[in-house]
């Protein structure tokens, strides 16, 4: 956890900056209204790099070249680049009601258990792989992609014994094992295996904070709510002082940390500075290229984030795993009918737009979308809602998704001891298959007891 104290490096960095500052008498001006010194014809960044290079040569060939950072990112881009698989994990928070998303409308038992919440037969599209099931009308977009063979459905996914706590169950899914003490996420452990130490974007939460599934042991990862907003300025602080100040802000993150809390604080500063540079690059290049999605996205923050994710992938940003929260909460103990319909609609519409955007940009062969929730809900309704249950829904969406249902829908006549849907597939099996078939990685290095889980076919061969 402790970072090495690289005082020597810092002194060198400070010397480089000092050299740049002295030479900086001739810097091109960047503030409006200031006198313009004799221009060099170089923009500031090129100038700094060039001057750093000159200074470095004094210190010998063993030093890393100033281009190394950019090369590092280029390397990262190559290993996360055009041919590399990307997983976009979308969490339906609260435990979505699988019996409404894929409703067993043809079962008599369904009508008995859901006298007020049950969906009417014919009100949605029939699920073609099991005609007793019907897509929720708000999920018609998924039905459409399913018809195209781009949706792999898990009609009753879970684990045993099912824990009905949101936090415990979600935690199990996040960490990829039934261990309340596990601290790294399943995607985080994958990134620890294949990630790069200089690339926090490899695991990216498009959110105000980091998703636990991306928590790593050694590799940096990032949370960015919006690339365009990811800037740092301060009162009365401009160039040429702001740049060095932000560099120092990042440098403080590279120092040794005496405790885990301190390490968290230092690591966050370091990565924030890195991400700041990357987001500035991205926003600038977007402006220059005038890149715009050919696909209309719905309004809303979730859709905006998916749209920007598509654009970031399009520019070759070295993202391996991304994570987002779906619209709304699915913890529908009460007022289920309206809440579920609205949130599901907004989520599905945005996901379908994202898939179409990926197809339009030619990215669809290397991006897979995962929709998941911590559990399904109780078959017997409580009046206006449903309580926590067991077997639930998950979907994998993408042009390379197998399109073949994994595990059957077990029906409602035989429920488990808590009167919940019995699971017919295990989320850890899904993870193992994703690691092996999508990421080409040995599942046993990421998922404990990987050998004990059946591997469903998730990817078109």
């Amino acid at each position: 956890m402790a970072r090495s104290c690289s005082c020597k490096d810092f002194n060198r960095a400070a010397l480089l900056r000092r050299g740049a500052a002295v030479a900086g008498k001739g810097l091109p001006n960047i503030e409006p209204g200031m006198p313009v010194p004799a221009g060099t014809g170089l923009d500031r960044r090129t100038f700094l790099l060039a001057s750093a290079g000159a200074a470095l040569s004094v210190y010998g060939a063993s030093m890393l070249s100033p281009r190394h950072f950019e090369e590092g990112i280029a390397e990262a881009s190559a290993s996360s680049g055009p041919n590399q698989p990307v997983l976009v994990s979308i969490f339906m928070e609260g435990g979505w009601d699988a019996l409404s998303v894929l409703a067993p409308v043809k079962e008599t038992r369904y009508k008995e258990l859901r006298p007020t919440l049950g969906l009417e037969e014919g009100s949605g599209v029939t699920f073609t792989e099991d005609e007793t099931l019907m897509w929720h009308p708000s999920a018609s977009g998924l039905a459409e992609l399913h018809e195209e063979g781009k949706v792999t459905a898990f009609p009753a996914i879970g684990y045993e014994p099912q824990d009905e706590s949101h936090f415990t169950s979600r935690h199990y899914w996040e960490v990829g094992q039934l261990d309340t003490n596990a601290r790294t996420g399943w995607m985080g452990r994958y990134l620890d295996l294949v990630g790069e130490p200089g690339n926090p974007l490899q695991g990216l939460s498009l959110d105000y904070s980091l998703a636990p599934a991306l928590a790593t042991e050694t590799m940096p990862v990032a949370a960015v709510s919006s690339p365009a907003d990811y800037t740092m300025s301060a009162e009365g602080l401009y160039e040429p002082v702001l740049g060095p100040a932000l560099e120092t802000f990042g440098a403080l993150g590279a120092l040794a940390a005496p405790s885990p809390a301190f390490a968290q604080a230092r690591g966050a500063s370091y990565d924030t500075d890195l991400v700041l540079n990357k987001m500035a690059d991205f926003v600038e290049s977007e402006k220059k290229s005038g890149d715009k999605s050919a696909v209309p996205y719905p309004k809303g923050e979730f859709a905006e984030r998916l749209a920007v994710l598509a654009a970031m992938l399009h520019t070759g940003m070295p993202i391996k795993c991304a994570s987002l929260n779906a619209v709304g909460s699915y913890d529908t103990h009460s007022d289920e009918v309206d809440t579920l319909a609205a949130n599901l609609k907004e989520t599905v519409t945005a996901v379908v737009a994202f898939q179409r955007d990926l197809e339009g940009r030619g990215l669809d062969q290397r991006v897979l979308i995962q929709l998941w929730s911590e559990f399904g809900r109780r078959p017997r309704e409580n009046g206006s809602g449903t309580d926590h249950g067991a077997g639930g829904n998950a979907f994998l969406i993408g042009s390379r998704a197998s399109g073949k249902m994994v595990g059957e829908f077990p029906g409602l006549t035989k429920l488990d001891e808590n009167e919940n849907v019995v699971k017919t597939s295990d989320f850890r099996g899904m993870y193992c298959s994703l690691l092996e078939q999508w990421f080409q990685t040995e599942a046993g290095l990421v998922i404990p007891e990987a050998a004990s889980f059946e591997r469903p076919v998730l990817i078109k061969s």
Binding site: H166, S233, A234, L242, P244, A245, P260, Q264
Partner: protein
């Protein structure tokens, strides 16, 4: 579990603010620098593992809880105490504690006399108008932030803050700032009493009855929401063998009977217990059968053999990041039960425990960080921007992300760290030297001769001379020495660049990793 807050409106507010205040600013020019590759030791995201009550706790022990005794308090101890049991020191406050007996200082926090005194100007919004905490978005947050900044009963506010997280309700679902603030007052008034009383009061508190569906839980239609969370999150803990799914259901039955009325004009009101909605049958909870009601539900949780270890460990975790030793846990449990579940007794023991002073740092929560910065420069609440700034940093009061509260082990990532930078900048907004001040207009022009060391000293003094590690100080000093401040050939730069350096130093100190922990 409930939904995360809607952030769109904060963003809009933010953009507006940003346009207004920063329109003269330029985007930062990028600086790619070789330092970025010199990362010998990569790091992950795991900062802390907060203490969790063990599955099989030690038996309660009457042995006294280890305590540091009552030596004269040191400056470092005083700072830690003020940051963890309050909202950071006001200028000179930590220095003023030095030498006093530690026990006396702790008691001054845990045994406040009478009503709190709020020193300084009343809180107002950016137009100078009084806050409207019941009706205006964000004014609720700022109303409480004001108490954190101004109250002389710092630990009362900190305990209220802890119980807001412990019994985390979000106005996202409660949808009544009035109800949330009434709950807030409940926490404040009961925070040093008995936990049994507090738990019972929370169980029938309107905000809680809405948030965890208590008013929708009725005979024949058991809603398990509160029954589960009252055991898992409030009193016993998950996965410890304290209860089963059957207990959850039976607990739900015992809790039936609470109702409220809804009217178009007032929303939910008249929360009351109506026996006709109560399930009168026999329930079996933790193996005990009876016609239990909500009072029994709370009592059975409190009397559960795994409650005491859960309570003391959870409370411990808000103050100390490392696990209590077996002996300490045993003694704390015994103290808790023998003191009739006294919250104050446990807080006093924790605040005098050697681990509190000698153990590792804690990451300071966003709201505490915000209040602490304001206290250190003696700035009252004169804007309501703190609500969205704090939301972006990961914590808007009255809007915890879900019923398990905020995750105190992972406050800092690349998004929330940037938000803390923005927050710190806003804290300085009324007192920063303007680089482009115009002497002819009578504006104060910054020194054109200030030396690097003096600049750093001035920036440290601005924040009340906080404690920084020697490593961080070394880097910040280097920045002060090397940052461009103009030359004799470009005289026009000398003052503005020095003003900028001063502002940069203030930002670097406030946003340093050192200032995020205590």
């Amino acid at each position: 579990m409930k939904v995360a807050l809607t952030t769109k409106k904060h963003e809009r507010a933010k953009e507006h603010e940003h346009d207004k205040r920063h329109k003269d600013k330029r985007r930062r020019k990028k600086h790619h620098h070789p330092k970025t590759v010199h990362r010998a030791k990569p790091h992950g995201t795991l900062g802390l593992a907060l203490p969790v009550a063990p599955t099989t706790p030690p038996a309660p022990s009457p042995a006294p809880v280890p305590a540091v005794g009552s030596p004269p308090i040191t400056l470092a101890q005083g700072r830690r105490l003020l940051w963890r049991a309050g909202f950071g020191p006001t200028p000179g406050q930590a220095e003023g504690l030095v030498g006093q007996p530690l026990e006396q200082v702790v008691f001054s926090l845990t045994r406040p006399a009478g009503a709190a005194t709020l020193t300084g100007p009343e809180p107002v919004n950016e137009k100078g108008e009084p806050l409207d905490p019941y009706d205006v978005w964000g004014d609720d947050h700022c109303w409480w932030l004001d108490r954190m900044v101004r109250s002389d009963q710092q630990l009362v506010e900190r305990m209220t803050f802890i119980f807001h997280d412990w019994f985390a309700n979000s106005n996202e679902q409660v949808n009544s700032q009035r109800m949330m603030l009434e709950q807030n007052e409940l926490f404040r008034s009961m925070c040093f009493g008995g936990f049994h009383d507090l738990f019972l009061a929370v169980t029938t508190n309107p905000a809680m009855l809405v948030f965890l569906d208590g008013i929708y839980n009725e005979k024949g239609n058991t809603n398990e929401n509160y029954g589960r969370e009252m055991m898992e999150l409030f009193s016993l803990g998950a996965d410890r063998g304290a209860y089963t799914q059957d207990d959850v259901h039976e607990m739900g039955r015992a809790l039936t009977g609470w109702r409220a009325e809804w009217t178009e004009s007032t929303g939910l009101q008249n929360f009351h217990y109506d026996p006709s909605y109560h399930d009168d049958g026999v329930k079996t909870i933790f193996g005990q059968s009876g016609n239990w009601n909500y009072e029994d539900a709370v009592r059975l949780c409190i009397e559960n053999p795994l409650h005491a270890s859960f309570f003391v460990t959870k409370l411990w975790g808000y103050f100390i990041p490392s696990e209590p030793s077996e002996a300490t846990l045993a003694s704390l449990q015994s103290l808790y039960v023998s003191s009739d579940y006294s919250i104050r007794a446990i807080v006093e023991a924790i605040l005098q425990h050697p681990d509190f002073y000698e153990g590792p740092e804690l990451v300071t929560p966003p709201v505490v960080y915000n209040a602490g910065l304001l206290r250190s420069i003696d700035r009252p609440i004169d804007t309501t921007s703190w609500a969205w700034l704090s939301a972006n940093a990961g914590q808007q009061l009255f809007y915890p992300p879900n019923v398990s509260g905020w995750d105190f082990s992972s406050w800092l990532d690349t998004s929330t760290t940037r938000a803390r930078w923005e927050m710190a900048s806003s804290v300085t907004e009324k007192t920063y030297p303007n680089p482009w001040a115009d002497a002819e207009k009578g504006e104060s022009v910054y020194s054109a001769t200030e030396e690097p060391a003096a600049a750093l000293a001035s920036a440290m003094a601005y924040w009340g001379n906080p404690l920084l590690s020697s490593e961080s100080t070394q880097y910040i000093t280097l920045f002060s020495e090397t940052c461009p401040v103009g030359t004799s050939k470009t005289e026009w730069e000398l003052s503005p660049y020095r003003a900028m350096r001063q502002n940069a130093l203030r930002m670097l100190i406030a946003t340093s990793p050192d200032m995020q922990v205590s």
